[in-house]
Symmetry: C2
Subunit: 233 residues, 2 copies
């Protein structure tokens, strides 16, 4: 019997924001897979650490930090080979993914490589977007409002146009793009409506009005912006 | 001691897509609150049913079905009074919300009424957007892609412009708006890239190419549309 590949979202960071389904799969896993970034610790593994069986085999995909995509693709190619080997041997493989697997998640790269040949199940997770909103006490969208999710690395002109045209906004992956994004929001007169959140739901979480945000931001940071005036009453 | 109000997302429908934190809060609750729609069953309560203590007190907000907002606001006004009474008496109150409380969630109405006077904590949940993507086997966004979430009840002209300008799209609350939305997507030549999902993660879930979708859709239905060509490889 060939095994099943599970792409499991482990949520935004707090271990108890893992779903019951994900927890059950991780606790029962014989083989766990996850990416690390340039030899660092795996954030997804850290979130799930207390649930991982001590004797589980771990398949680590070390993804180099580079704007050239070929080295990352090679890491996922090798990861797919290792995972396929475990599946062929009859083991299920639980692949951990921070947040949700299909929302900017690394699991997509494995899904693209393996879903045609193997049984794959995706377990959705809590995304950082709703986690940041919860921690900031900021409703995102109600009734017939639109939500736009933008990655911070987009070019300045495109970001400006998208922010200007949006209604409720989450800007992801802020990191080193914070000065650029802040300048755009400022020039649109929207700074007072924006909240900065980093490491939502973790012990070292930061939630601040954008005007008070630090000059440098970690990769896992977000800006929430709602233009409406308390539209959820 | 005044109690704390918890706004708890219970996820898209499958009971095991509740988070560990939400499950612990529900299992320990003395007072549970939730809305029902026009006297019907509460979907949020049904998702969490197995976790609710038998002796918990239940505060039900019956929200009338109407385009006039005043009757719904009156139902939340009364719910807020009932919840405040329990909080003043020293009980915590766990308010159940399908999906995520701040993502088109009814909890926003209680948050607006009570958060200035009481301690409120929001527990984010898995949204129907990522649940539909998981069930459809359709990655939503990778790398620097944009995601737009649109409510199906928006006017036709606005929907057309937003769909045309988006990159990756989730159209929520499709329901009786399905013929209108389908005609727009058809006229933009995008039908082959769209998937229809109803009741994601429930036993009676439906996942179909949009071209094969039924003529009438329930309220809890969604269309996912990704314009890119397998951009997650």
């Amino acid at each position: 019997m060939t095994g099943t590949l599970y792409g499991v979202g482990v949520g935004p960071g707090a271990p108890d924001l893992i779903t019951l389904r994900a927890a059950r799969l991780i606790e029962g896993a014989r083989v766990i897979a996850y990416p690390t970034l340039a030899g660092g610790e795996s954030f997804a593994r850290a979130i799930a650490a207390d649930l991982i069986p001590r004797d589980a085999r771990e398949i680590v995909m070390d993804v180099p930090m580079s704007t050239d995509r070929a080295p990352a693709q090679a890491a996922y190619d090798q990861g797919a080979i290792d995972i396929a080997g475990a599946l062929d041997g009859g083991d299920d493989v639980v692949c951990l993914c921070e947040g949700d697997p299909f929302f900017y998640g690394s699991f997509m790269y494995l899904f693209a490589r393996l879903s045609a040949r193997y049984q794959v199940e995706v377990v959705p997770g809590v995304t950082s977007v709703t986690a940041c909103a919860a921690q900031a006490g900021r409703p995102l969208v109600a009734r017939n409002e639109r939500l736009t999710v933008l990655p911070g690395p987009l070019p300045e002109d495109e970001l400006r146009a998208r922010i200007d045209g949006a209604e409720s906004l989450a800007i992801m992956k802020v990191g080193r793009h914070l000065p650029k994004i802040r300048a755009i929001i400022d020039s649109l007169g929207l700074t007072a409506k924006a909240t900065y959140v980093e490491r939502a739901t973790l012990a070292n979480e930061v939630v601040l009005p954008l005007a008070d945000a630090p000059d440098s931001a970690p990769y896992f940071s977000m800006i929430l912006l709602t233009k409406g005036a308390d539209p959820w009453l």
